[in-house]
Symmetry: C2
Subunit: 357 residues, 2 copies
């Protein structure tokens, strides 16, 4: 039984409260400055308005102003912010950290720093910590397919915890594991986070096909959908995750495992990323789609922007050829360069053409 | 412009008539003895009752009794039977074959012969040919995600043609390729066919989750489905395809490409295999489910049976350990051994546990 703080009261951070509560930990749920309404509801009615559920036992809600108090004597901190909030998280947690603490992040994304360095979000959090404490705490992250509302509904969920520190990741896994929250562990944090970040981009491909179907008049008179095309986009996404892992020095096999294809599958079942893709497939420019989804955080767009900057650098280094990543390049063209959408199908699956899948 | 015969007037065989017709080939669509009603409708009204479409131009329908006439002067034969019909196809075609003909099969499956030999279906077709002609014709197969009704609706479809003969497979691809039927080629027929066969088994995993969701009362009050669990089953299926390719001497990368994950995705979007899985997830025994789906060809069951026989042989040879293939073993237990269904989640993803995905 540990004291555990969840910082960020959004969907995914809060959802970890269910397995943690079932394991009898003392939990403090701390909203960011954007979560004040959520925390108010949690304090007054124990009801989380976005998850639409009553909080489980043992969870105490805190406003951000109560952070210092809420972080007292915690062993584990769950980073529950989105990818735009990781620097804030690092700066905010920094002054309160103590040696030996474990910080596990649910955030999915990547950032490009300097000229050509792709930085994992847990490392970005750590970089914002005061230098003296930075090496005395351990960072970890959660990958794999996990819709927050299902975890909070105690539905079976299979995830992967990653940390470069084997002991830390095993300790975290045993703190979280329940009969329905199945946790695998890896020390290959890099491959885990590359998958977690890129699946948000490639899910746009599946969403685009949903839009193309509607635009073409929908299901036809003989009941034909566009599952064949969606499957091609899905497979190309999976193959491009594998290529990215290979090029960036990760483990390509993650692509056809839980963190790659598993997460790509679950994200393709619906949600913001599919909705954005659908709008693009319907023929909206990214600017129009962005307006239609005003107020929503679009992590898929962030990772497309990051990769749009990274690809030319990787090409300049000779790591990436112009034939690699046709789907990712399309997404960059549409979202960053406002180009018209055409799925470059015949550029897909170069690895089959070359006999090296 | 070639003379091309399609033998078997089911969904998938017939659907290839659309790209072939758009490429101006002369087409003969030959029903098997099971397709007499279909051919009658095609002859009388040019309407294919299962595809629910008017046949495209240039397709001449034939009853099986007219086979000899229909096969005159054909360069390419499309094998359009299901996996239970491949021996019949070989025996039936054999006497009519001429040197240089290409035979491309849409059938997906595997067979175990003798003690421990997994045989690809195109090879099974060829074995039924008279010995004198066997080496003078070339066998090929189609893999990748392709729902027949979508192809017949001229929806974009990306597939892989495989043959051990590079020249033959390129000739076939150029006969079939259109602006909507995108064809990649490979000489790795083995990996292509392993993917095509196994995806039918693993799609049952996704179907089972649909049944488990219904059995548990369906979507809950906060709108939680079981996509997390379906994604885990999907990812384990993909990982087990990769393992099978590695163990059997194929190319593991096919698992995260069009023939593996692409076909697994499209098959998971609905159809017989998902319906059978759903019935099993709802708690029906396989015998009950089989009765509820009376009259339907269940290729997923055939491949589960084949692998149920192959696994012990592969284990005896030391190629497979008892920890490999937990999802496939579950399917064998439920379908072959009438055991009760419990998803062995914690046995999944051994490759992550072992750090070797």
């Amino acid at each position: 039984m540990s004291n555990i703080a969840i910082v960020g009261a959004g969907l995914m951070g809060t959802a970890t409260a269910w397995p943690l509560s079932d394991n009898n930990h003392n939990l403090r749920l701390i909203g960011t400055h954007l979560d004040a309404d959520i925390i108010k509801s949690c304090k007054e009615r124990r009801f989380h308005p976005r998850l639409k559920r009553i909080l489980p036992e043992g969870v105490e809600p805190f406003y951000i102003e109560e952070l210092a108090q809420a972080l007292e004597d915690v062993e584990i901190i769950v980073g529950g912010v989105n990818s735009l909030g990781v620097r804030w998280l690092g700066r905010t947690l920094g002054p309160h950290l103590r040696p030996g603490q474990l910080i596990i992040s649910v955030t999915k994304g990547l950032e490009l720093q300097g000229e050509d360095q792709l930085v994992l979000l847990p490392d970005l959090v750590a970089r914002a910590f005061p230098p003296l404490i930075r090496d005395q705490v351990t960072l970890a992250a959660i990958g794999g397919p996990c819709i927050a509302g299902e975890l909070a509904g105690r539905r079976h969920s299979c995830v992967v915890f990653g940390s470069r520190d084997r002991e830390a990741v095993e300790r975290l896994a045993s703190a979280f594991r329940t009969s329905y929250y199945h946790v695998w562990t890896t020390t290959d944090l890099f491959s885990l986070e590359i998958c977690a970040a890129l699946k948000n981009a490639f899910t746009l491909g599946v969403g685009i096909v949903a839009g193309l179907l509607e635009r073409s008049g929908g299901i036809d008179e003989a009941e034909a959908c566009m599952h064949n095309l969606a499957a091609a986009a899905f497979a190309e996404g999976c193959a491009e995750i594998s290529t990215a892992l290979r090029i960036l020095g990760g483990t390509p096999g993650f692509a056809h495992a839980l963190p790659g294809v598993g997460d790509l599958y679950v994200t393709s079942m619906g949600g913001r990323t599919v909705r954005l893709g659908r709008l693009l497939g319907l023929g909206h420019s990214y600017a129009e789609a962005r307006e239609l989804m005003a107020g929503e955080t679009l992590e898929s767009v962030e990772i497309v922007r990051v990769m749009g900057k990274a690809l030319p650098k990787l090409e300049a280094q000779g790591l990436v050829s112009s034939e690699d990543f046709p789907l990712l390049r399309l997404l960059v063209d549409v979202i960053v360069h406002a180009k018209t959408l055409t799925l470059p199908l015949d550029a897909f699956f170069a690895e089959i053409k070359q006999g090296t899948p």
